[in-house]
């Protein structure tokens, strides 16, 4: 099972970061989005090819008002 932004999801092991983004309703070319998997940055260039491992913790982040 993949943990997507802290919640269990139907994203399966072996699916890509892009697949996880689509679950959140995001376009792959969405501006201002960054992804971390298991505490490491996953650059946009490899979103399509990065296969999520079982139990991966995926954080999909964007701009919020702050500071």
């Amino acid at each position: 099972m993949i943990l997507l932004n802290g919640q269990s999801s139907d994203v399966r092991a072996g699916e890509s970061v892009t697949a996880a983004l689509i679950r959140l309703g995001l376009d792959v070319d969405a501006r201002g989005v960054a992804v971390a998997v298991d505490g490491e940055v996953v650059p946009r260039a490899v979103w399509d090819s990065f296969a999520l491992g079982d139990g991966a913790r995926v954080e999909v982040l964007t701009a919020m008002q702050g500071g």
Partner: protein
């Protein structure tokens, strides 16, 4: 002792006003010396109007989980406003989390600038100095333009500048407290201690706080809650802009020293003598 300290505060000494006509951080110049935080505004519309009223060219954003139900795009509003983004690491309590957040922000916003916050205490939101130094060093090594939110400690500020931070952002008082500048002497000392821009951050409550920061020699002021949570944020943004400009002018003009007794502004020469009442 108190008088000596006052005298120190009252004059710019031999130091020129730092930074010239424009604010320059890491080689980027800005005409506005007011940085704006985007947190706490009642709506994106008010935020956009406040940015315009403030004249700010550099605004902070935070990085949080995507909210599929979010209304409107902050990124679009800021792009339309034509401002540069300064991502922050708000909410980070360790150097590790702050460094990772900065790297994610670089990925998300295509900027290597970061307002580095590493918080050490939940009640005061004061910086954790050791973690801040560790994170700053790593991010500078990693090529970031680092603007650390720091305590009002001249020694820590100098350490951060020595590491290679592009500016230092000492607090006037705790974030969102509106308590103003609680230790103006230290802010003056920080201005003397570092050669990078000093941006007064946190604690600004109203326009006079921003003016004081500039009079103390700060190169810029960051305001967030003071504007966003004012009853009329757009009007307060205008007030802050004017205050920063007024304080900067006053700093350059050189204020008179404080004196215990009056100094007549009208000369006694030519004062008539009317004689005694008979």
């Amino acid at each position: 002792m108190a008088d000596a300290m006052s005298a120190q505060l009252d004059t710019a000494g031999d130091r020129p006003v730092a930074g010239g006509e424009v604010l320059s951080i890491a080689g980027r110049t800005m005409r506005s010396r007011l940085l704006l935080g985007t947190g706490g505004f009642p709506s994106l519309e008010v935020l956009a109007d406040a940015i315009a009223a403030s004249g700010s060219e550099l605004v902070t954003v935070a990085l949080r989980r995507v909210d599929p139900g979010a209304r409107g795009s902050l990124i679009d509003v800021l792009a339309d406003a034509g401002v540069r983004l300064l991502p922050n690491t708000a909410g980070c309590h360790t150097a590790r989390d702050a460094v990772l957040t900065a790297r994610l922000a670089r990925e998300a916003f295509a900027t290597d600038w970061v307002k580095l916050e590493v918080i050490g205490d939940e009640d005061t939101l004061l910086p954790d100095a050791p973690e801040l130094l560790i994170a700053a060093e790593q991010l500078v090594d990693d090529g970031f333009v680092v603007l650390p939110y720091t305590n009002d400690d001249p020694v820590l500020a100098r350490r951060l500048a020595d590491i290679g931070c592009a500016a230092v952002m000492p607090l006037g008082s705790p974030i969102g407290s509106g308590m103003g500048i609680r230790n103006p002497y230290n802010i003056s000392l920080i201005r003397e201690a570092v050669d990078v821009p000093v941006v007064l951050d946190a604690g600004v409550g109203t326009a006079s706080d921003a003016a004081l920061a500039m009079e103390l020699g700060c190169d810029a002021v960051m305001a967030a809650s003071a504007i966003a949570r004012a009853q009329d944020p757009v009007r307060m943004a205008r007030a802050m802009r004017a205050a920063v400009e007024a304080g900067r002018l006053a700093r350059g003009a050189g204020r008179i020293p404080r004196r215990r007794y009056a100094t007549a502004s009208t000369p006694d020469e030519g004062l008539p003598e009317f004689g005694a009442i008979t």
